[in-house]
Amino acid sequence: MSIFGCKSCDKCSNKSCSEEIIAGKLPKVALVGNPNVGKSVIFNALSGFYVEVSNYPGTTVDVSKAFTEFGEIIDTPGAYSLGNYTDDEIVTQNIVQSADIIVNIVSALSLERDLFLTQQLIDMGFAVILVVNQIDEAEKKGIYTDCDKLGQMMGIKVIPAVAIRNKGIAEIVNAVKNGEFIISDNKTPFVNKLLGQQDLSRCDRFLKLLELESQESKNPEDRDIICVERRKIVNELVDKVISHTEKRKSLSDYIGDLLLNPVSGVIIALIILYLLFQTIGVFVSGQIVDFLFTNLDQKYSPWIEGLVKQVIPAPYINEILVGEFGALTMTVEIVIGVLLPLIIAFYLFMAVLEDSGYLPRLAVLTDNLLNKIGLNGRAVIPILLGFGCGAMGTITTRILGSKKERTIATAILGVTIPCAAQQGIIIALIAAIGGLKIWAIYLGVIFIIMALVGTVLDRLIPGKSTDLLIDLPPIRLPLLFNTFNKTLFRVINFLKEAIPLFAFSSVLITILSMAGFLKWLQQALSPIVVHMLRLPAEFSDIFVMGLIRRDMASVGLLGMAGLEENTGVLTDLQILVASIVVTLFVPCIAALIVIYKERGLKEASLVWIGAFIISILTGAILSRILQFII
């Protein structure tokens, strides 16, 4: 057995090879493992607080890094294998390629599945330390793992761990410090047969094996043999190191069963949506937003207005900075007063759903429904994220298996899904005009449009959609630290994106307003607004704001509906029609840029034009039909 196989790597970016580590440079340690094995918890325990989280270039996949006394630790996204099956796997593969040491984390609950990746890492010639996590959860379920025997059989160091109780963390650190990472000789025989004779550097070996095992492999028969042999090795290992005793079902199992039952599952999903409505729609957008917005409007805005007018006595600049749509007044009021509380609440809720293991179960429940519009249950994840931010949802469509699905999901996000900022305001608007009937109409219309867009695209776009295949992790209580961490990073990312766009849009609106363009546009759009939608001509202001950022259109609507001051100009019917039109209206600039980047100019233009036509047509039809109902 040898430590480090790679002496010189001109083919990859691996700059810190064995000699450099021996010479005292810190190694790159990649944490690799299947989803839901506790990688992030181990990463947090190893890294302390000095963590840098960023998106991996070209993806939405979060990658955390930390520098410690024993090396640079990199967390990788969960992957079932190294290959090109998903975005996560490609990112993991790239990180692993330049790592010196792999800390492979597996769960004692699913060794049979997880060791498949371990064996692949060994076959690729990496120096591996194996951490068997969740030993306690497994023992509660009657699964006992003999870690010493596993280590002997695989030819690597194996550390048992219960990461959430900090057990095994010190042992991982010591193993890295003491150089207990080993390149095992226990490789899959067929891999040795194919690559063994050749004198390959680690990078060459890694790249060759990746090519052999890729989905587009030129020798699918070889790939099959590798898969089958690797599976056989893992099965033998599991047979020898695991002993079972029958245990009774735990509470988590019972809850898991209930969530998957079509009846109780749907009821629980509805309860969760109701809780979401209560927290975001009633408590956050009602009380917290009200409190913050009023304070900012009455205390902060007059103060900054006075200050700016003293320092810069030029009226034009004043108008841009602190006027009606001022960058320092309106932007701050809306970002801090309206958006921030909504976004925090929304992301916190999502993080809890994610960490508790509920999201994949929701994907299962929605699979049949989404199949009808050419998607599978996984699409519920970008759609749910789209309820947070359309741009984020659109980027996440990358987790979908085919181009067709990504296009359908992007169109549905761009046309029908209101983002968190919009929802808060739409929820407030609809709550103000009343009751269940209005809700039923609003949701019904949005649902019908979503089904229509999905069905039409499913028929029009050639190709097949992929099937659902996901792992359902045990139901767990989310760890507070992880949940807050996740929420914090998402909020910061959102603000980074939102603040410049908001400031830009308010400056643009001020300039347009000063140049008289708004008046002109109002008149130009007025036939559509007044005759087709039967709304007041001022509604074209909202269209203009909607072009810049869709949630600002909703904020404008709040003002016109008179929910902030008693200056409302809209009737109940008009508020409902306007809410629907604003929901369906074109994606905001941020979302549009993302659609363009992800799906190209043609699709971005089609989504934009489609959303425009659908929103106006729907509004025109509803304003004529609904007058008999409301």
């Binding site: 609950l109 049979e112 498949f116 790939r223 699979d367 049949n368 099937d467 295949l469």
Partner: protein, 75 residues
């Protein structure tokens, strides 16, 4: 031999084969392999199967591409 989607909740089975190589390789990554013992847990649309203590959801179309032999005695 029946396809996975014909299993009823509570039934146990052994995986016999897959319709093609890419289905096979993708399934292997999730721990579904020829000879593996599975148990159908529920069918809320997709087929939910247990493999050991692990639970996997398999979409309807995919479940038609995986063939299993039902273990009758373990009903």
């Amino acid at each position: 031999m029946v396809s996975l989607c014909e299993l009823k909740p509570g039934q146990e089975a052994e995986i016999s084969n897959f319709t093609d190589s890419s289905v096979k390789c993708n399934s292997q990554r999730f721990g579904l392999f020829e000879g593996g013992k599975i148990k159908c847990i529920a069918k809320p649309g997709p087929v939910i199967v247990g493999i050991g203590k692990q639970i996997i959801a398999i979409g309807n179309n995919l479940s038609k591409k995986i063939f299993v032999t039902v273990c009758e005695n373990k009903r």
